[in-house]
């Protein structure tokens, strides 16, 4: 008997899911059994159906609700994370409160993970028994509505983040774009050419950067990081640390005299990938947005020794401020997009390729800078000595990816990138090029055509993962060269190929701090460290946390077109949310029954969202439903049983336990 004394009339629906479930679970038997054995619990209709999630399957539920006067629905099918919404809608279309529906996952938890048909069928029965026992205690719930703040926080100013920010800003909503480095642009700003069309990277990126910099709806925070995030979908509050630039932005004209005069030269490990130098006061590159420099206090002579101040002396507008401090800025936003990008694999770890020991072994990012017209060599492909043009170049694919010693996954961009490198070497130096690959992977518009173009250009493609690169010559031909030792697997012989230069197509890796970022925003990372999307196929830019979206390489290795597409997709999702003005939240909340509350305050300190407040006058606790996130910890902790957790009440869980174990009890009784 339920609380409101209404007799439960339950419909049970067992899905075949084609053969996904029916191949292992005897679904017809389960459906018949449910009607026979669970009749006393209130089951009046029990059916099996090929695809419950199809419109016909949903209509079946709606029809039964009306015809059989059902008031509760149990669907035994896939995981509720996939179709709970579908069946709640069907239940609602039938005229019931959508929360009078419960899903039992007999696909993910039964048919896909077990092979013994008899045992699987039995397990499905007990799980349905649990679901039926639980739903008896379901109550109609009303979703909560909360307003959505129209502003959006975009974290990461690479191409994906820029795209997302522009789409939202163009739709007329405010965006806060936060970038850790002094300028937006990300990795794309470091490249010279983009595959397969060989567009100039800067030519297509710079206009977007400028647009983002000037857009009236975009607040740009560069040299800044998000430090704290509170709140929930529609109503987040983020704290941004704006690191001290030591430059007064309002006064700086971006003339560049400070950089010119600064006496301290530093190896630029970020933008130049360690291949070039910058000053201690710098903008990372000429087209930087914004164009204000920053003073790198770790290397600045003044901060090291207390004297210098050359920049201050020469600045025509007195914009240098050595006393400037970090600023903490608090912003209110409704949605968040994380586009934090990737780090390049540290190729020094592959000691057999000699990076870091052999001068003329370069990483892919170093090579990008080498070919870039604004790079350290003005775009000339030369050896580490800065002058010699190589006569032969080896490009090694899959360095640190597709390798269980480092990263198991395919970095997806390396093949195309390596082909681009081969092309640039042909074009700029006429050198002989060897590409060492395991498999050539070119799925993408115009990609395989590009591969064939490189074949035509005379690139030497050698199928084999390079075993080692050494400078230990065995004969005069190898003297003074880098020797690539590899099995040419198509010939079946070991070969030693002497070259002048090696380029390592290093893997894309999750940002070193990806795990901390995930924690900060309350979303999770895969075992590798990539941020996890809500569904790998059908919901690639949303996350498990409402209001937080991901785009670009933060989600996994991808090329520029895909990063742009994801940035735009995330933006579209956010714009849709903003336009609805409010969002319905799952009504899974805790509430205190005042009469039962003894005022012990045990629950008060348990809530991480500060949702529980204590009324000193009445000596009772109360839960603010807007702040409560529904975890249920206080429900479990209340010694007086005074806290109710909707959707997961004690009655619901305890009955489910009973239902799950019903078959066991019957077996024990017949013993």
């Amino acid at each position: 008997m339920t609380k409101n004394n209404e007799e439960p009339r339950i419909g049970v629906y067992v899905c075949h899911c084609g053969t996904n479930i029916a191949g292992v679970v005897d679904v017809e038997n389960v459906a018949t059994w449910a009607k026979e054995k669970l009749g006393t619990q209130g089951v009046v209709v029990s059916r099996d159906y090929k695809f419950m999630c199809s419109s016909l399957g949903q209509e079946l539920i709606e029809k039964d609700i009306k015809e059989h006067n059902l008031n509760r629905i149990v669907v035994a099918a896939c995981s509720p994370h996939l179709h709970e919404k579908t069946f709640r809608t069907a239940t609602s279309n039938g005229g019931l409160n959508p929360f009078m529906c419960e899903m039992v996952s007999i696909r993910e938890q039964v048919s896909w993970v077990h092979t013994d048909k008899v045992i699987a069928t039995e397990k499905a029965k007990s799980m349905i028994s649990g679901g039926v026992a639980r739903i008896v205690h379901h109550e109609p719930l009303q979703p909560m509505s909360v307003p959505i703040h129209p502003a959006t926080l975009v974290v990461g100013g690479g191409i994906s983040g820029i795209q997302a920010a522009l789409e939202i800003a163009d739709a007329g909503y405010p965006v806060h774009l936060v970038e850790r480095e002094p300028s937006i642009g990300g990795h794309m700003a470091q490249f010279d050419k983009t595959f397969p069309t060989l567009d100039c990277s800067a030519c297509i990126l710079t206009p977007k950067m400028v647009e983002a910099g000037n857009h009236p709806n975009i607040n740009l925070y560069t040299w800044s990081e998000v430090e704290k995030v509170d709140g929930y979908v529609g109503n987040f509050v983020a704290t941004i640390r704006k690191k001290a630039r030591k430059i007064v932005e309002a006064d700086c004209t971006g003339c560049g005299i400070c950089q010119e005069k600064c006496p301290k030269k530093v190896i630029d490990d970020v933008f130049e990938a360690g291949l070039g130098y910058r000053k201690a006061v710098y903008t990372p590159f000429p087209q930087a947005v914004p164009n204000y420099p920053v003073i790198d206090v770790e290397n600045c002579t003044y901060f090291e020794k207390g004297t210098c101040k050359v920049c201050e002396k020469f600045c025509p507008t007195n914009a240098i401020d050595f006393e400037q401090e970090d600023e903490l800025i608090s912003i209110e936003i409704g949605n968040i997009i994380l586009a934090t990008g990737y780090d390049l694999f540290d190729a020094r770890k592959v000691s057999n390729y000699g990076y870091g020991r052999l001068a003329n072994v370069f990483t892919s990012l170093e090579f990008e800078r080498l070919t870039n017209a604004s790079g350290p060599t003005g775009g000339e492909i030369v050896l580490r000595d800065g002058k010699t043009v190589p006569k032969s170049v080896g490009v090694i694919h899959c360095v640190g990816s597709r390798d269980k010693n480092y990263n198991e996954y395919c970095s997806s961009i390396c093949c195309m990138q390596s082909l681009k490198f081969a092309h640039l070497v042909h074009e700029r130096s006429g050198a002989e090029v060897y590409n060492f690959y395991i498999d050539i992977r070119t799925p993408g518009k115009g990609y395989d055509e590009f591969y064939l173009r490189l074949v035509e250009e005379g690139t030497n493609f050698i199928r084999g993962k390079v075993a080692e690169v050494s400078d230990t010559a065995r004969n005069s031909e190898e003297e003074g060269k880098l020797i690539v030792q590899v099995e040419d697997t198509l010939v079946g012989k070991q070969r030693r190929i002497p070259v002048d230069m090696i380029v390592l197509s290093a893997a894309l890796e999750p940002r070193a701090d990806a795990k901390e970022v995930g924690k900060l925003f309350g979303i999770s990372c895969s075992a590798n460290g990539w941020l996890i999307e809500r569904h790998p196929k059908l919901d690639p830019v949303a996350t498990m946390t409402e209001g937080i979206y991901i785009a670009g390489c933060a989600q996994g290795p991808k090329d520029i077109p895909s990063s742009v597409a994801q940035g735009a997709a995330a933006a579209a999702r956010v714009i849709g949310k903003i336009q609805k003005k409010e969002i319905e939240l799952e009504p899974i909340r805790a509430s205190v029954i005042e009469e039962k509350c003894s005022g012990c305050r045990i629950c008060n300190n348990l809530c991480p969202f500060n949702a529980i407040l204590f009324h000193e006058d009445r000596m009772v606790s109360e839960i603010n439903p807007a702040l409560c996130q529904g975890c249920g910890t206080c429900v479990a902790a209340c010694p007086a049983g005074a806290i109710i957790g909707t959707g997961f009440s004690n009655e619901q869980v305890l009955s489910q336990i009973e239902g799950l174990l019903m078959l066991n009890i019957e077996a024990a009784a017949t013993d």
Partner: protein
Amino acid sequence: MSDYIFYPGCAMESSARAYDISLKAISKTLGIGIKDVDDWNCCGATEYLSISATPAYALIARNLALASRQVNGSNTVMASCSACYLNLTKADHNMAVDPKFGIKINQALEAGGLSYQPGALEIKHILDIMVNDIGLEKIKSKVKRPLEGLRVAPYLGCMVPRPDYASRFSDAEQPVELDMLLESLGAEVVDFPLRTACCGGHMTQISPDTAFDLINRLVKAADDQQADLMVTACPMCQMNLDAFQGEMNHHFKTNFKMPILFFTQLVGLAFGYEASELGFGLELVSAKSALSKLGMKAPESDSAAKVKKPPKGELPMPAPLPKMPRSAEKEATQ
């Protein structure tokens, strides 16, 4: 004073007596107790494994079983020979990861009234013990006669850092442990990227031409770096490079005279022992002239000059990975 159960292996009694003598000498200075595995047998090298797996592993496991009976406080077994070290760790590892196999080997041991519980022993190579357990600081503090002026090629050979089941070394191909140990003795360590390349193993007996080629590569690379001598941590490496250097010279019409010593002999010299107490003179390519350089300032070498300021226009090199032994690396990541 820490005690170790010692598995010497057959070579220590014959071709590698210098290793044995010098090890016993320096263990006094380092204050470590060494007790042989009682009635140990040959580990079978790579040969028994080639013929039949179960008897080969049973042969190795008898030693593990005997050693585990001797555990008294310390459960560390110290091995000096690379092949022995690898075989002992390999048997322990495979018995652990493949329980069915472990049971089979124990069934064989049972016939001799023995048994071995995989994981009961910690099996370590002497070099590992010296760098990671005893520590470079302590070794440095015992140095009485720094090996200044001696240019040394550090040759570890393959089977100590590979496959390294228990991750004891900093890298499988370019580990820094031997370099750091030699540096702490005051020696100049030359750039020797072949530090873990193969010496040819039993190829001197099976396919001499293959072996001569491998020996030639190693000796030539050390000679190119103007090394005064090479040190190894493996009796097989020492024997191949030392005893077959002449035959190799004959084969390639070269005239290398590269002395090949055990690293423990250099440790002993630095600790102040006399050459005669350390098994010097047992090597075929004499180390006498190389040792005469001891104490002399080495002439500035090419590689040292290279480190100087790069000429204008040269692109910067990536910083090398910080040099730290595995134990320090593990601490740093924790």
